[in-house]
Symmetry: D2
Subunit: 147 residues, 4 copies
């Protein structure tokens, strides 16, 4: 697994708001898209897709710092780094880099903390250790990458 996992995407019209820039809530959708691509690259999905949602990874904290606004048709690269792998939690850092139009520039930085949970019979969620098969594949980024 790469310590700096990356995806790219292009800003869609529906992601803008009347200020002409990407609505701030959409960055959290983008972070999730990077995360699901990351887990998919490890052979996992944030949801067992067809066979019921036994394992879930609900978020307990999410944050984002915005420095440069994004606009329609901008192309961005999202970097995902694992800041911390706990017994039942994962902490990701996300860096948003605008790669088009040039020059390339970091435009936002996010952080998400999630817990591993199992769905109970009554539909409620209960914290549970990260599955070993998943945990073994995830490695914290070295500190020098996390400046």
């Amino acid at each position: 697994m790469p310590h700096d996992f990356q995806i790219t995407r292009r800003i869609e019209f529906s992601e803008t708001d009347m200020a002409g820039i990407v609505h701030y809530s959409n960055y959290f959708r983008f972070m999730e898209a990077a995360e699901t691509a990351f887990l998919r690259s490890l052979g996992y999905s944030i949801a067992l897709k067809r066979g019921g949602l036994e394992l879930c990874l609900p978020r307990v904290h999410a944050e984002c710092d915005y420095s440069v606004p994004l606009r329609f048709e901008d192309e961005i690269r999202i970097h995902l780094l694992v800041v911390k792998k706990g017994k039942r939690t994962l902490t990701y850092q996300f860096r948003f880099e605008r790669i088009h139009p040039a020059p390339s520039v970091e435009v936002a930085r996010g952080k998400v903390v999630l817990v591993s949970a199992k769905r109970q019979r009554d539909g409620s969620l209960k914290a549970a250790p990260l599955p070993k098969l998943l945990a073994d594949k995830i490695h914290q980024a070295p500190p020098d990458l996390l400046k």
Copy 2:
């Protein structure tokens, strides 16, 4: 049950796009909000909320005609009329009326067709008659209301 069921709502900032108007996909969210309020008024929910999703009402057709754009903080009244109650289907008409700023004006008109479905053990959906308790409470609008 009123033949012309109504809700009101105010346009939110996140519902606009960079053209300065409400994004056209949001009208379908608004129609659904009117429908869930309608079903709630009959004692029903479009999803059995806590106890699993046994009954679902998936949409098979949706459409909208847009005549006047909506903007941030506009207040609208959404009218829901039952066009047709079939054995397994419901057809709604939705009229979007902008009530603020004045003067009041119809700005859009939508239609949604849904089928009654039951969730199978494997998670798939299968068409099923509308539950009698629900069907008995729903009445088609008289033709003169549906001009």
Copy 3:
């Protein structure tokens, strides 16, 4: 320009709803994404991006027929065909094909009608002919493609 313009995308977690399937309003976001890719392929954007929104293409009608639900991580191909090029309007057909998981199957079909409009000084929109440079590049699909 190809008569059957295509894009692919993968369903994101945030595009699902509690029924476990893609929310019906998102298909309209997907259609728009196909359209903007189409216009981009012609050297155009549905919005003059940086220099103000002089030319807009507001939608006057949108519809979708849903036959098979889409789920998280499904991969789809969206086909855009130009049904009709008028002096001031464009009508698109969209076909949603699920390409993963196999077998490939058409899951939905949409239609959108838009008008060409110019933004006035006061912010309002006024219908205007499609710009010639754009109109010259767009060709109606032959009837046999539009079965």
Copy 4:
């Protein structure tokens, strides 16, 4: 102006995801809805609505801690408190309280920092002091309210 400004809303179907709970990005839309209601109560809008977007309040930081998931048709009360009023910035705290189903419980807590900005001729944004008329109406919450 009340130090604990409040709005209520009901969770909509389109705000849920396939985990059966409200998607975490929607809390940021909810915070903004509380903020726009707050500014409206002071006679302001986060956007000059009809006459162009001269004054904007772009977000530079947003965060949320999630403790209890929200579900379809839950009713919530959102509390907005002004944590800090700077010369060019505002910091809000948001408390999400689920009021239905009973018992009432705090389910999430958010924070947003925004800057006052003026739109330049070229469409870019430039930081500018909060308009005096607005700043004079906004008061920081007393520290004991911000436990």
